[in-house]
Amino acid sequence: MALHLNLLHEEFLEQRQRQRDPLKIGMMVLGGLGALMFLYYMWNAYKTLEIRSRLNAVQHDWSKVEPKVTASQKRSAELNSIIGTTRVLDGMIDSRFYWAPFLEKISRCVALNAQLTSIDGTVLDDGRVVNVMIEGLAAGREPRAAAEELRQLLIEQLGQIYYEVKVEFKTLEDLDTLANIGGANMAMARFGLSVVFNPTAAAVKAPSPSPKAPRK
């Protein structure tokens, strides 16, 4: 067996130790990792720049659209306000009580032997109730009957266009004075009539009872 002598043993050991130097290996690993991280960062930065350009494009689009949107929102609000206001005003106009037809009906009820001296009417409960006080004089052989005739006529005439018509005497008294009608002297009576009615059908329909459950 041949004897093999390694005279460079120490040099080899030193070289091996240099190659296994942890700091050197660590630095290499760090360098590698750093390179990878740098590449990853660059990739992210590239994507971020791309997103920024997209954002700029969207912002540009929005800046073009925004004034139109703001104007249309303002106009929508204005139109909604106009629609709401008009609806409320139309409601108020429609729910008004018109006195002219009422006065026309009154004028149709007053016969030659009756005279009205005062009409005092008030609209109550937002137009749901109208209360009228009518004062006047009636003449005839039976002046009270003439006044009653007027009351009946009022119920009939007002009942044609209004609801829940109530016409009641508040006062009815004979007078001592006589009235000359058609050359004949007639006795007179003074009357006061309370007229209450509902001008709208809606208020009449409102309190209708709810349907009852069927009986078993």
Binding site: N44, R52, S72, Q73, M92
Partner: protein, 189 residues
Amino acid sequence: MKKLNLTKDQIQKLLLSSIGFIVLLYVYFTFFLGPLNRSRDSMLVSINDLTGKVGSSKNEMAKATNLEKQATAATTRFATLKTLNPEGAPIAWFPPRMKAFFANLQIDKATARLEGNVPFKDADLADWMRYNWMLDLPQTDFATVGKAIAELENAEPLLSIHHLNIRASTDEPQFQQVNLNVATVMLKR
């Protein structure tokens, strides 16, 4: 497996490398990648937000266009109602207008007196006020006042008569005296 024998010097270097590695990671994530990701995320949120706004803005504008078509009647009606209110304070123009109105119907000496004004509680009528007036017609007759009231109710849609008093004139029995309490809805001036 060959056991790794490290010298003290090597262990120190290994520790130093580890510390360097940790510092590198910290710096990388805290000062480089972190802000970049945050910036990207915030930009993505902004893009989504703006895209949503741009998308909804088309609907918004379409709605406004449709509303404009639907509200044609209302806007015309509103404009008509507004024209019933001339410029200026109602106390300045309403009494003369009433006087002229009744004078045209052969009712002289008509006067209109402002009794008060109140704002509406309804939010839709925030720009409008209710004015209460007392109209005095000291010398008229039943038929004429009936026609005048009919004309008034038709000509002034925003006017409503709340109280009416017709009584025989004590001095001249052929005439009647009339008081009307009216409320008008008018624009705030």
